[in-house]
């Protein structure tokens, strides 16, 4: 599993201010930090406050690319904003995200085709997030079939079963893990999987512990990527170790360092 570094987000005060003042400093500092800590993509989100979100997205993409060569994940519910970012991405990006809904899927998969981008598909639709694994998998199947009909390869489709905070939706935990296992059987080659890791610990008092425990459990169930803070060292160490125990990476004494450096 790899980390999509999550810190470049207008929800954070320093980034919101940087966008307002067009100051690349904080954005580039976070980009460098996440890159050095082992992230393999960087998530870019203008946040809700940006006055001109198209301009803000373009600017964030450009200044981030000056500081890191990592590919980007463009995070918005406004597809005009995502396209504005895709236009200036130097490397094939990832679109974050699309639910199993028309006409949103059509818009997003067309964008993916036009810009050779990968797509994060959410296991939800107009009716919200399902309670059980079965309904989640049904929505994932819709995403798989639609992605395939638009010519997207399964290696470029990241299915997100949608994690809920464990203090609110405790019953969702095992359903998410079951979904991760089952969606791998939907196509060959199998589609990829992703979660927004910090959702699981939202509002709890042991956030870091819950995040890394869930990450390890999810890896054991087939998780390929997580949107998370790569600067969280214990999380990165736990992920590197889970990859060894799952026989994904070949063991050597310095395996944690190797994982951090691997792009």
């Amino acid at each position: 599993m790899f980390i999509i570094g999550e810190r470049i987000n207008g929800m954070f005060k320093d980034i919101a201010q940087a966008i307002r003042e067009q100051d690349p400093g904080p954005v580039q500092e976070w980009a460098r930090k996440q890159d050095a800590a082992g992230a393999r993509y960087l998530d870019i989100n203008t946040g809700p406050a940006a006055r001109d979100p198209l301009k803000a997205m373009r600017w964030l993409v450009e200044v981030t690319q000056e500081a890191s060569s990592l590919p980007l994940t463009l995070d918005s519910t406004n597809y005009e904003v995502i396209e504005a970012g895709l236009e200036v991405c130097k490397r094939p990006a990832m679109i974050n995200s699309v639910p199993a809904e028309w006409p949103k899927m059509e818009r997003v998969f067309n964008l993916a085709r036009k810009y050779s981008a990968a797509v994060i598909g959410l296991a939800m639709n107009e009716r919200g997030i399902p309670k059980d694994a079965e309904s989640r998998v049904a929505l994932c199947l819709e995403l798989v079939a639609t992605a395939d009909s638009f010519g997207l390869s399964m290696e470029d489709l990241y299915l997100d079963p949608l994690v809920l905070p464990c203090n609110v939706g405790q019953d969702h935990g095992p359903e998410v893990l079951l979904t991760l296992r089952q969606v791998k059987l939907l196509a060959s080659p199998a589609p990829r999987t992703v979660v927004g890791l910090s959702n699981v610990s939202q509002g709890t008092r042991n956030r870091a512990l819950i995040d890394r425990t869930f990450a390890v459990m999810a890896i054991a169930n087939g998780l390929d990527a997580a949107i998370a803070d790569a600067g969280n060292e214990e999380l990165v160490e736990a992920i590197a170790t889970a990859r060894i125990l799952m026989n994904i990476d070949i063991y050597c004494d310095s395996y944690v360092d190797v994982y951090r450096k691997q792009k």
């Binding site: 290696e155 070949i250 050597c252 310095s254 360092d257 190797v258 691997q262």
Partner: protein, 330 residues
Amino acid sequence: MPFTPSMEKYRSKVKEVVLGATREQGGTRAFTVTVGGETSLPFLHFEGQIAHRPVIGLEVWDVAPADWPACLVPYFEDVFHDPAAWARKGVAEYGVDLIVLQLRGADPDLNDASPEECAGVVRKVLAAVGCPLVVLGCGKAEKDNLIMPAVAEAAAGENLLLGVAEQDNYKSLTAACMVHKHSIIAQSPVDINICKQLNILITEMNLPADRIIIDPTTAALGYGLEYGYSIMERARFGALQGDTMLAMPMIGDIGAEVWRTREAIAPRSEFPSWGDQIDRGILWEATTAAALLQAGIDILVMRHPQAIKLVRQNIDDLMVKSSHAGQANL
């Protein structure tokens, strides 16, 4: 009916390693040899690039070998006492791509040759041939740590491939390669974890990863070949899947392993049902090499000229791409 082979998409490739340096590059070689660069498993041309063909290096000693089987003698007896002539003959008559000079004479129990004497032999062999050179010590770590820095210095800029670095003895050789611009053989004892760790240790000393060749240690057919094969296969899978610390080309010492097996050297009189020893020995070396080619080996170190000829033919055949470029009609 049209047949479309299923293809793997790998996200990474084996590093390319250049052996030797021409005059413009600071050495004296007539040409360089590049190994590695594969983007798929061995010889799957329909799936990826087999950027460079595997190469064959001839084993040349600095002293006349006392224990080589008689069937090798007719090919080398005129040059056994002259490594430069031996190397020249290997290139001119047996068509090898590289010379693998082994400084056996440095062994304290043999001639105990001095670092200066060893450096002198290397210089002579460099002057005799235009191909890149691999230079190995005598195999005794303490002595090798004395002779290899001298060899590295005497051949500074030639980009020799120097061996061998091991997990508990890699610093001196790595430093010599760094300072005098050579490449290194990282040898591990049939152990993928140590193989990877050693590459990390060497790169942490700042020798670039594209100057490392992996020797995962191989054995002859019938003597654990399959262990070496599995390690090579695993390392290659790792390399293609993005494990940069296993993404180096691989070398194997085939001749030395094969020519001490009973199957290669026992006379027909001892095992009448095994057939003629000369043909059997040649086939034993060629078959061992052919198997390792399928595991992804990039540099084959060999002894018998007839085995070398067979393996070269095998490599020629394996490097031919399918005319259907990924689509065959059945």
